[in-house]
């Protein structure tokens, strides 16, 4: 079991990659560029675009847009900082006291994308 989350892993031609977490922060991040004959087995390939000839077996293959409001600790790893009213905003709640707006609560969620 190995991990290359948030970074570019190094592969060799024909390598079988088994039980790795290869989660990337930004959707459709290419990994293994220029490497042929890769086989991924039971890996987390979230946000990864693998080479076209790669064999993917029992892996998570979704693309997900992460919100930096939910994952501020990932900004230092390269997650782009979101605006206050970003695409991940799902709900806004205003708190009024004595006719005065004292707080606006914003709720966000990560979104699975195509």
């Amino acid at each position: 079991m190995a991990n290359a989350r948030f970074g570019q892993p190094t592969f060799e031609n024909g390598q079988e990659v088994r039980e790795w977490n290869l989660t990337q922060l930004v959707p459709h991040t290419a990994i293994g560029v220029g490497v042929s004959g890769l086989r991924f087995v039971n890996c987390n390939l979230l946000n990864c675009d693998v080479p076209a000839d790669a064999d993917v077996v029992d892996c998570l293959t979704i693309q997900k847009s992460f919100c930096s409001h939910l994952h501020p600790e990932w900004v230092e790893h390269g997650l782009p900082e979101c605006a206050e009213d970003c695409e991940h905003l799902t709900d806004t709640e205003e708190v009024w006291i004595d006719g005065e707006l004292v707080e606006t609560i914003r709720r966000y969620e990560d979104k699975v994308v195509s």
């Binding site: 079991m1 190995a2 991990n3 989350r5 948030f6 039980e19 790795w20 977490n21 989660t23 039971n42 890996c43 987390n44 979230l46 029992d58 892996c59 998570l60 293959t61 979704i62 997900k64 600790e73 790893h77 990560d110 699975v112």
Partner: protein, 335 residues
């Protein structure tokens, strides 16, 4: 009279759940049928388009509903029944708010959900026990263990959370006990809680190679006899405010926070903490004068023994242990 049901996605019989031959092909059917005291045996792999919802019946404290994975022959030998989210289902197992109490899960593997592999909804988390279950390669938490009552105890024994795209084990609230569990390779904390008044116990467990903290308990917490190794953040972070008490005893805390961003143990709030008989080495990515353990200490004195500040045991080398120091007290053996 309790009933026994069978689930096998490859079965081709009468599909009435009465035997392996006539097994139901979906755990959902069994979950909607079982009542207190019933046992559901499962084998093989079920590919999911949507989560298995545990939202129909409760067990009881004396008669829980049990879901047990079996091998291909139908025997219980530790082989897991797999629920494959197939990059489509939001969760593999989702347990509802009001129902789904007193369910036990044994030998279950949850993989490739777009969200958390296992999600427990808010309210009423009573009596859920997980044994030898795995949650791996999911698009969020491995386990999202939401309970909202002080007695909403969830117990995990010998479970694993591997390579998920957020924390391995996460609880936003109360009452989680981890015994002999393993959290490895997750994109977040190994064992995590949200800020608030939750509590948790991490006992004889392993947190390794996660991007965040090895264990992050912002409420009342105990970390005992565990290995917390090579995580990206702190080994253990306690951040509870007074009057909550936090204990870290007899742990191996090594190689965390490489790059100078983490500590062996970090206390960041006013709660009373006691750390003892822990073994620290090579935390914070420093090769000498390393292994920091910094409890909250508002007035910057040492060896607080009362009040709400962190307590440091000056008689032991639990803090600021250098690579050349004599180790006076270690409760676990390091190979």
């Amino acid at each position: 009279m309790p009933s026994t049901y069978y689930v096998d996605p490859a079965a081709t019989g009468a599909a009435d759940g009465s035997s392996w031959t006539d097994a139901w092909t979906s755990l959902q059917t069994a979950a909607d049928t079982a009542t207190a005291g019933d046992i559901i045996y499962c084998r093989g792999t079920q590919t999911l388009a949507a989560a298995i919802d545990i939202d129909t019946n409760n067990g009881t404290a004396s008669a829980p509903i049990k879901v047990i994975g079996c091998n291909a022959s139908g025997a219980v030998d530790g082989t897991r029944f797999t629920l494959n989210g197939n990059s489509a289902a939001t969760n593999c197992i989702q347990i509802s708010a009001a129902l789904g109490k007193y369910w036990w899960f044994v030998n279950i593997n949850c993989t490739s959900a777009t969200g958390a592999g296992i999600a427990l909804a808010s309210n009423g988390g009573d009596g859920r026990i997980w044994v030898n279950c795995v949650s791996q390669n999911n698009g969020s938490y491995g386990w999202n263990l939401y309970t909202t009552t002080t007695n909403g105890t969830v117990v995990l024994i010998g479970c694993q959370s591997l390579n998920n795209s957020n924390a391995g084990f996460y609880t936003p609230y109360y009452g989680i006990i981890y015994f002999g569990c393993t959290s490895i390779g997750n994109s977040g904390d190994g064992f995590a809680g949200a800020s608030g008044v939750n509590w948790g116990m991490v006992i004889h467990s392993v947190s390794h190679n996660n991007t965040g903290d090895g264990v992050n308990i912002p409420g009342k917490g105990l970390v005992f006899g565990s290995v917390i190794d090579e995580n990206g953040g702190d080994g253990i972070e306690f951040s509870s405010a007074a009057p909550y008490i936090m204990l870290a005893l007899g742990n191996r805390i090594t190689g965390n926070g490489t790059g100078g961003t983490g500590y062996g143990i970090r206390g960041t709030s006013t709660g009373l903490a006691f750390y003892g008989w822990n073994f620290f080495l090579n935390n914070d990515g420093v090769t000498s004068g390393d292994c920091h353990s910094i409890p909250y200490d508002a007035d910057a004195d040492t060896n607080e023994t009362s009040g709400t500040e962190g307590y440091t045991d000056g008689d032991n080398d639990d803090f600021n242990l250098t690579s050349s120091a004599t180790l006076r007290s270690v409760a676990i053996e390091i190979d």
